[in-house]
Amino acid sequence: MKKYTNFKIAVVFSIVALFALLLPISSAIAAEAHGTTIVRDADGCTVRMTVQIAVDIATQAEFDDVKTSLEACFNRTCEIPCENPEHGHCDVICTIDVRKLADIPDADKPKYHIVSMTNDISSAVPGTPNSGRSTSDFERANSNGISGTLLHRAWCHEVLHLCGLEDKYCDLRRGDPDNIEVLPCDPPGPIPCDCEIADGANRCTKPCTGFENDAMATLSVDMSCDNVIAIVELAGLNSCPVDPCCPIPEEGSSTNKDIYQGMLEDWGTNIEIVLFGQHPILNHFDGSPPQWGFQTFEILTSEYSTSLRWSNPYSPIPPGNTVHVGWVTPTATTIMDAGWRDDILWDPIWDGTIFEIGHEILPLTESPGYPTLRLTYGIPTTQPVWITELYYLLWDYPFPLDLLKPENPFLDPTSPEFAMTPIAIEPIEMFPGDAIDIEIVELSLSGQPIVIRFSGSGNNSYVEYGQHIITAPTADVPTLSEWGMMLMGLLLLVIGTVAVVRRRRRKAVLNEA
């Protein structure tokens, strides 16, 4: 008897537990607060648009058809370009949630647009993004002569109304004595709805000017990202903030390189890159991955060199790891020295030297022309460096410095979006003081950005990215050298002396006469 009682308690407990588990699921069915909800992510660079549809009075087959067709229209990612499209874009991630009205808890129903199946022409009450919900009637297949793709486009058209968009077609009917413009374009063109009513017909419709390929004007085309962006605009979110979404691309010469921590015992704290000559530093990239980002960056300039110093005192990098740093200078630079430094006087650590190669693109002799890549090895060591792979990419606009790294899919050989072109080379061995020129066999223009990627091994394996703006040679203006100046001065002295002597002689002759 007691055993039986325990069994009953267990059953009741299980049911209660199951109910408790299901309760939060059913009450949390609506993801968003409105039929059309548009929000910007915290990072500012992604806008999310969610459309919630509840289908009423439909067979299972009709519901499945509606759900499939609406998902095909609305589940997409679109882009809001930066003010300068060359600086990037923000993503608009659009999703649609289609459910049966009966499956939605009463409390959540006001958060869904309501769609009912009907035999009439599809219609919808225009909605407003981020404000309540609206209603629409979807015509059934063949109830008004359309089915398949056209019908699905009509349904998507109506949901775009629910999201706030207006029609973009005009409607002209035959009248007596004048034709009647039932639906004018907004804004009206010079001749609103200038379509011609065919003989025997009583009406013509036509997309408004500029909307010929718009799903709000015709069933001849599918819904597009233009429609999504137009809805986002209604919500006032059709913008892509410059900071942080539209980084200004780099001008000049950019370098973003692997720095391998190959020291045997020390943990890496300070890195110094020494460039030949004085160079303004236009931008710098202070390390990735994030946990090893350098806390400080400093520039020291001497008469013959520019030192770039990164320091990471609080989270030093253990041996065997790689970090990235980068810098931008107005012109190409050659690396004089590079390596890990100690914490006190920034003295070189004996096994901390980094074998780095400098790079530049020589000026074109003509534009368009074939650019030449010059690689130089200036590190004061006796050990060679090997270059085993070399790629280039002629691009439409410069990448920001922090995108010159393998995490950029266009620059990652393992990514399907990898866009770089390989340069066929045998492995190149470079010794200190070596410089080699490699011609890139693709016509390019002066002012065009070029990205190079080379990898190989020195005292470690490395990957380096460089970016340069291809330049044309400056026009040759004849100038005098120092020797020329001296010869010119001597010549003027001789000419002047001769002139003075001749004048004195002429004066003496006249006096004698």
Binding site: T118, N119, D120, I121, S122, S123, A124, V125, P126, D137, N144, G145, I146, L150, A154, H157, E158, H161, E166, D167, Y169, D171, R173, R174, D176, V182, L183, A198, G200, A201, N202, R203, T205, A217, T218, L219
Partner: protein, 174 residues
């Protein structure tokens, strides 16, 4: 006194006859005057209806004073056109006009719009007794328009066509 009574009876009988005659004449007169009002000589109507979207069917229709009925239907996707012409009997015009009067058509608003986009509707313009009035119904159930269109459809169904729009419902009859 008796004579008076007799005269009085005669007077009442005469008055009763006269009253009946006047009543009969009034009934006849009122009936004929009603019939005249039901079919004004300039009674005509026309308009267009069907889809307000750039797909579906859209039609133009007219009924002239002489009873000529014209109808054109175009499928906006296929471009197919259906044209029908016929003649309505005077009794048909009477029935239609009776519905117009019953609906108090000339006092309806000029537009009844639910605010929905696309969908369907009808615009009807009626002329009678030198008065013209047009009413548009778009995605809206207006019982008065519903009754008039149902009355027309009951007549023109013999031509194989009908005026149709989404909210139209002729199942109830009238």
């Amino acid at each position: 006194m008796v004579k008076f009574i007799r005269c009085g009876r005669g007077f009442f009988v005469t008055a009763k006859v006269l009253f009946s005659a006047i009543l009969l004449i009034a009934i006849v007169f009122m009936t004929s005057s009603n019939l005249l009002a039901q079919t004004p000589s300039d009674f005509a109507l026309g308009g267009y209806g069907g889809s307000y979207a750039p797909w579906g069917g859209s039609y133009l229709f007219s009924i002239s004073t002489d009873g000529t009925f014209e109808y054109e239907l175009i499928d906006l996707i296929s471009g197919d056109v259906q044209q029908v012409t016929g003649t309505l009997l005077p009794a048909d015009l009477d029935l239609i006009y009776a519905e117009v009067v019953a609906a108090d058509f000339f006092n309806l608003n000029s537009s009844y719009d639910s605010g929905k986009m696309d969908g369907s509707g009808i615009v009807m313009e009626v002329t009678a007794s030198n008065v013209t009035h047009a009413v548009e119904v778009k995605n809206y159930l207006l019982v008065e328009m519903n009754d008039i269109v149902c009355a027309i459809n009951a007549i023109i169904t013999s031509f194989g066509v009908e005026l149709n729009y989404g909210t139209l419902d002729c199942s109830g009859g009238r």
